[in-house]
Symmetry: C2
Subunit: 340 residues, 2 copies
């Protein structure tokens, strides 16, 4: 019982909620996990059949947030929504983590209000682990902070380093800053100043990388502001979709190529599986006092199940405690940085 993972689930967030959420939970065959499912009980009870293999309890919530609300009412109502209550379960210690496919901005705002940021961290960031030719890369911030300071990017570098150490199971992880050229003179003031600072405080900082390095996987952590990060994340998604659709058209263009595609089908399907964005679903809101995982809003049951598995891995690896350890070790860095 003591090793049982308890995960709070916001069942009402995302484009395909609650069906995709419950169907996704139904795919979690691992034992030792218990879900606290927050949402409208009468709606959820219609779909209980998906959950017959899993351990769960439903926690009824009434409040529904709407995009028409102003920020203040959004946050007020939000606290009582399925998302807000699921976050609250982490705060109270009932759950070890929370997963939602709901609105990112609201999720971040509520999580920040309820859980607070880790001591020494000014603003949390959204981090994801992206696949690349030579390996995976922890990328952050992917959209939480459209406007960043040197201090913010430094926080992200420290958080990203800690996450990468756990995820990649090694101590020496390389950290890079996204820029538009590898020379020192390139880029805007923000990246130039941050680079100078990181050189002083982070021994594992390796300098600038560019957009084409993201899918190379030649560094462990790529740090950027939330505007550029969100742009490149969505650009990768769009480019992959475009190429795959062009490939499908090409393979369907003649009888010969259709026969060829048929023969290559097992290999192509394996590639499709490897490249499936649902496989990489699950971003983490890093820098908060709790494990807060965000599923893509448009994902289906398979994608949501992967976000839940990602959360379980985070809990298994004791990552959160290790991040805190790393932050403790990094405190001297923070102190130098405070002098900025």
């Amino acid at each position: 019982m003591s090793n049982r993972k308890v995960i709070a689930i916001d069942s009402m967030g995302g484009d395909n909620a609650p069906v995709a959420i419950l169907k996704g939970l139904g795919q979690i065959s691992e034992s030792g996990v218990h879900f606290l499912i927050y949402g409208n009980e009468s709606v959820l009870s219609q779909h209980k059949l998906y959950l017959k293999q899993v351990s769960y309890e439903i926690r009824h919530t009434d409040a529904v947030v709407s995009s028409e609300m102003d920020v203040m009412s959004l946050l007020k109502v939000g606290k009582n929504s399925s998302m807000g209550q699921a976050i609250q379960a982490v705060k109270s210690g009932e759950a070890m983590a929370v997963v939602s496919a709901g609105n990112t901005g609201l999720y971040m705002a509520l999580a920040k209000i309820v859980l607070k940021t880790i001591n020494g961290i000014d603003r949390p960031a959204i981090a994801s682990i992206l696949p690349g030719k030579c390996g995976r890369t922890v990328c952050l911030d992917l959209g939480a902070n459209a406007e960043c300071s040197v201090r913010n990017l430094t926080d992200f570098a420290i958080l990203g380093e800690a996450l990468a150490r756990v995820v990649f199971s090694k101590e020496n992880v390389s950290i890079a800053l996204l820029n538009i050229g590898s020379e020192n003179a390139k880029g805007n003031r923000l990246v130039k100043q941050t680079s100078e600072f990181l050189k002083q405080v982070m021994p594992n900082y390796v300098g600038f990388v560019e957009g084409n390095d993201i899918t190379k996987g030649n560094v462990d952590v790529i740090v950027t502001d939330g505007f550029s990060g969100n742009v490149f994340l969505k650009t990768i998604e769009g480019t992959a979709k475009y190429i795959v659709s062009e490939l499908k058209d090409a393979l369907a263009s003649s009888l010969m190529s259709r026969i060829g595609a048929l023969l290559s089908l097992p290999a192509l399907n394996q590639l499709k599986k490897k490249m499936d964005p649902r496989l990489y679903n699950g971003a983490i809101l890093l820098g908060l006092n709790g494990v807060v995982v965000k599923s893509h809003g448009g994902t289906d049951d398979v994608g949501f199940a992967n976000a839940v598995r990602f959360t379980m891995n985070v809990l298994s690896s004791n990552m959160f405690a290790r991040i805190n350890d790393q932050l403790e070790k990094c405190k001297p860095h923070f102190e130098i940085e405070e002098k900025l």
Copy 2:
């Protein structure tokens, strides 16, 4: 003779200069074009055989710029370099356009000093026409301005609109602003303010698009600052390379898939041709008093030839004069904008 296009070529710029440059020029079989080739005569004379089918003259230049130079000496020496002299040929009226694969920053700086910006334009931008599912999109700025103001982005919208009208041969082109969400509340101050302003002054402004819209081709023009623009351009490049390499690996993974790939080869080759980045080589430095085309620095002869063909198309379509016309029509916009 009067219709002959004279294009100044910087033969010493780019990773594979001068061989790739001269080989590229040798592939231009179209008649009615004459090249003024700037570079070291003794070096160039060794590779003259590539040029036997084309009309050209070599203009000797001695000066060589180096990345170790400080900005001032770089610009001073740069003016006498093959790049600087080629730009000068446009200024003097000897050439109608200039093409270089050299350093982008230096190219932009020299072109701005020598040719000056179009009256009413504060800073030039790098624009490229990117392929997408439903059509091509004019994207700018792709890296000239790492830091932008509302005024700069408005300039880019007007320049991009003019370019798209010519390239896509239609008057009503849709213009969008790159952001990290489509809602008004999303994004940083810069995009929010620019969006409000564009709504007032540009009837064809359609609002925000996101990173995954770039390869959809559902708008004609995407405007962004040079930092995000360069990031997404290089991200597209990197993602495409990554997927193609994974595809190759998958198709080579078994005997069956290798046979399948062989049968699909004509279709796959056609796709490869369609997706070849060398096909889209050729960005234009927009907002200058002259046609200034930038080839990718790492391109080969095929890519450089395409940059030259792009330049010839620009000259054929009389685009530059039409941009000036559009800017004339847009002057009232500028005047409103001046009040900002």
